[in-house]
Symmetry: C2
Subunit: 342 residues, 2 copies
Amino acid sequence: MTARIAIDCMGGDHGPSVTVPAALRFLETHPDASLLLVGRDEALRPLLKGRASDSRLRIVHASEVVEMDESPALALRNKKDSSMRVAINLVKNGDADACVSAGNTGALMAISRFVLKMLPGIERPAICTAIPTSSGHTHMLDLGANVDCAPEHLLQFGIMGAMLVSSTEHLERPTVGILNIGEEEIKGNEVVKSAAELLRESGLNFVGNVEGDGIFKGEADVIVCDGFVGNVALKTSEGLAQMLSSSLRAEFSRNFLTKFAALVAMSVLNRFKRRFDHRQYNGAVLLGLKGISVKSHGSADSFAFGCAIARAYDAVENNVIEHIAARIGAVARKQDVNKDAG
Amino acid sequence: MTARIAIDCMGGDHGPSVTVPAALRFLETHPDASLLLVGRDEALRPLLKGRASDSRLRIVHASEVVEMDESPALALRNKKDSSMRVAINLVKNGDADACVSAGNTGALMAISRFVLKMLPGIERPAICTAIPTSSGHTHMLDLGANVDCAPEHLLQFGIMGAMLVSSTEHLERPTVGILNIGEEEIKGNEVVKSAAELLRESGLNFVGNVEGDGIFKGEADVIVCDGFVGNVALKTSEGLAQMLSSSLRAEFSRNFLTKFAALVAMSVLNRFKRRFDHRQYNGAVLLGLKGISVKSHGSADSFAFGCAIARAYDAVENNVIEHIAARIGAVARKQDVNKDAG
């Protein structure tokens, strides 16, 4: 099978100047993949250079662009020929196996959901991404698609996350935890407590509560939370990492002596930087849909955007959607059996 | 006025071996303060050395200790002579102006609330602490006292936080923001949206939404959120900072060359470490009560515990409770006027 990926080349802060070079490089490292570059033909073609005749590369013209700050509802209603919409349509029609966009998150979610539809048994889509930990990485979901969740939704997130990790990382029984607060009198709210019960009975490898600091200790392969909490946790981490790294840089460029120290420590600092380079974790999968839709950071550079394309590729190659559909079905049947027995 | 602070000397992971030395050092740097050391007399007295006759220092015997993992409800009901309970009673009876404990958070909250009672007009207490930012620091609340909050509670948190900051930091109109998620279709849940409305009409210097990464950009002097989200954000930050610092240390101790680099970069790294030393931010104030109760990290060392005592001292010296009570009253009157006019 040849994975075919549709790329919204107009989305993101930098548009084609980032997405097209990333696409070209991706083709070089993935000889079995083909890409559909979606966007204004006149904006994309000049960037292809000598590659215009590559059979694994095709431009699909789309006349409009969803703006980064555009209302998702308006984008869904009015921009029928946007590069984002056309890329998602290609997945819907079977011309592509996945789509990738660095555009407006809300619009990508709304249009993906409207065009691709939900998998049977899943009520809410969830945004899932990998996060570095001290021992490797973990996957967290939801990161902002749903601000209010019922326990059943969190259970479904757990199933989807576990299936994503088991299929793309070939872990047979990934551990699943639920993000909670620990020390207080009432440990977590009612939704989290009920969701933990459902996860415990789900047949997943559920390890219970994970606190905020447990995320980075790698206490679970998959961490489930509602989109409000997940989004806050993710952005808080990004903000802290950014502050620490710019402060460290500032300390090292303070004067001649500190600059010399930086020179001596350069290789150590670079190793450290590479280890936690957030760009390699770029690419959040919108799970729960009948097709694969991947969201890149809007500010991604070409390396980071390439990582998002690779994430879509991995999801296709490892049949993530089929795995999720099968497991959701199995849990639903198990619950029916429990109900009949109860 | 002489600030008198009651210290639960038995609480925390290390008990008197940390709390008593911190108390003795605090007395040296604060000549106008006096301390009541609460705990088992036989455990505390040997640690006083030559200071037993200091008129600013008194041991108050308490026979019991609340365990770190004890149920707050049981601690409240059964441990009437615990060091924590006795310290809080001293505040209630007017023998102390504030209490400080590194013990069980849930128990401290439950007992403080039961003994000290809430200020009129405030329905829920909140845990508030300072957090470093790129430009200084911010204050965040609630950090775990309340898992589910109504908009009115978040408004009250905003008022309490603003009064804490304006009185202890002598900022006339501290900015107040509400923690929210930004990019998505529905910006925040209903509670946050309604709370933002209330804050906008409150007369506080309300600056609107702050996203997770905005915490560290110093976008507001006070950031309001419910206790679940706040606790996750705080612990996520702590976990990430811990992971990054131990990874940096590991990279620098990898071999002879990297150890040499560490030596050269030592002064830079130490400056960096000092700037973000979490110990100096130790000491969360439980706001909304008729007395001052400060929670130290359970794992605090003597320096960190001293910072928590200093936080209690600052709250006493700057009449935080009187400021909160006055402002809550003023906002309530304003709302009544609005209601009458509406």
